[in-house]
């Protein structure tokens, strides 16, 4: 698992990437009550916003650490957005057929050490 400075996590298996938000980001947002995901087939671009996660207080844009086409969205989040608060690393947002991965993604220890400074 790798991490972006904008608090997304990513795992890659073959040509498929899975993307979510980190537990730290979820804790910062507070109680998540709504997740707006892209459609299957949508094209994601590195560094561009692709989803909105809404907590009680505010809406947060989620930025893509990958480029590629969405092959699957986590439909469970539609009725249970709080899964992100409960287990951010299981509650993925999307799966993507990869074209490219962002340069300079962080290892877990690097992310943990500096997440509060991003």
């Amino acid at each position: 698992m790798k991490f972006s400075k904008t608090h997304e996590w990513i795992t890659v298996e073959g040509k498929t990437a899975t993307v979510g938000v980190t537990d730290y980001a979820a804790a910062q947002m507070g109680d998540i009550v709504f997740v707006e995901l892209p459609d299957v087939g949508a094209k994601l671009t590195i560094g561009k916003s692709f989803a909105n996660v809404e907590s009680v207080k505010a809406v947060s844009e989620i930025f893509s650490p990958v480029s590629g086409r969405v092959t699957e969205v986590n439909a469970e989040l539609s009725d249970a957005p709080e899964l992100i608060n409960k287990d951010a690393f299981s509650a993925y947002l999307v799966r993507v057929e990869l074209d490219a991965v962002e340069d300079g993604l962080l290892e877990r220890d690097e992310y943990e050490a500096s997440k509060e400074s991003f």
């Binding site: 507070g30 109680d31 909105n52 809404e54 009680v56 207080k57 809406v59």
Partner: protein, 356 residues
């Protein structure tokens, strides 16, 4: 940035702080806004609201000044009663919304929004006509709110005596320390707001947390305070109203007594026809209609959302909106980041407390 006297305690208790009204205030604690909100509806929440401003207004003709400054009628207010009012400018806009406490003949307390303390003080001082004296005691006054169905049990354990009626208050003591206990709040629940000197606030706060424990009371922040007041359709200054909002356009007419007395802004209200009104909305599908989202009837833009959130008690998103009062309230939608969310009107308050 200002800090309340309870800041160190709240920080230790894992408060997550934000700027609000010029103060550094906790928006939530570790359990989060939803848990805090639920606790207030089902048991009780304890809030630091010391950022609020408090003035003392007195003088031999203070009743005349109060009549002139405020839109509500205070001519018949008994001692130890509290009344909500608006304070208007000459254009009929809202300088602030506030509570007036009658302590005695010729002596009143005025409680104002944190963000408006300096403005209100200057406004009142500039508009006193009958020689009353205004003292701003905000800096040395702390205020702790205990809100929810268990608030009476908790506050009763701490103070022994409590004001019986909603919107009444009394003077009491905690040990030898004088406190003012007011049966008021901003949550739609029964509850108390306890005023004291800064020096006494720590002890009152600790006592409330200790007494609240066995009732399941939790420490709550401004995030829950906002969702609670919104479910109860209570307006928030700077959102549902401001200096440019005509006071007759916000659904608070019962606090504007046109027939009773002359007050600043009355002439403007008498001559201007209200063009907007405040309505309650619920989102039909998924998504949250937040402040400033445009509201549409069909393709016609009819107004803006003034406050919106996911309602924790109801489980669906709610909003208050300022819309043209001649708009047809059918086929309604709200623009959220370029997407139209279907909404429908709903009665306010959105949530009513269950009768005890």
């Amino acid at each position: 940035m200002k800090y309340t006297v309870l800041y160190d305690r709240l920080k230790r208790l894992s408060g997550k702080f934000v700027e609000f009204g010029g103060f550094y205030m906790p928006v939530q604690f570790s359990d989060g806004i939803l848990a805090e909100h639920k606790a207030v509806r089902e048991s009780a929440g304890i809030f630091d609201v010391s950022h609020m401003g408090e003035f003392v207004l007195e003088g031999k003709d203070v009743e005349k000044d109060i009549a002139y400054l405020f839109s509500n009628d205070f001519s018949d207010i008994p001692d130890f009663k509290v009344r909500y009012t608006l304070m208007l400018n000459e254009r009929g806009g809202v300088v602030d919304d506030l509570l007036v406490y009658r302590a005695a003949e010729k002596k009143y307390y005025v409680v104002v929004n944190a963000s408006n303390i300096d403005k209100d003080r200057a406004w009142i001082e500039a508009h006193i006509k009958f020689g009353s004296r205004l003292k701003d005691v905000s800096e040395d006054t702390a205020m702790i709110a205990v809100q929810g169905p268990k608030a009476e049990s908790i506050a009763g354990e701490i103070f022994g005596v409590l004001p019986k009626g909603f919107y009444t208050f009394l003077f009491a003591k905690l040990g030898s320390v004088p406190v003012t206990i007011s049966r008021t709040g901003y949550t739609g629940e029964d509850g108390f707001e306890i005023y004291s000197s800064n020096a006494a606030a720590g002890d009152i706060f600790d006592a409330a947390l200790a007494a609240g424990k066995k009732y399941g009371a939790v420490l709550a922040g401004l995030g829950a305070r906002d969702t609670l007041r919104l479910e109860s359709a209570m307006p928030l200054y700077g959102h549902e109203m401001n200096e440019d909002t005509l006071a007759s356009e916000i659904g608070l007419d019962r606090f504007i007594k046109m027939q009773k007395h002359d007050f600043i802004g009355k002439d403007a209200l008498a001559s201007k026809k209200p063009e907007y009104t405040r309505i309650g909305l619920r989102v039909v599908g998924k998504g949250i209609a937040r402040e400033n989202c445009a509201v549409f009837s069909g393709d016609d833009e009819i107004g803006r959302v003034t406050s919106g959130t996911m309602s924790p008690s109801l489980g669906y998103p709610i909003a208050m909106a300022r819309v043209k009062n001649d708009a047809r309230l059918i086929n309604l939608s709200v623009d959220v980041r370029g997407r139209r969310l279907a909404v429908e009107t709903t009665a306010m308050p959105f949530y009513k407390k269950t009768k005890q």
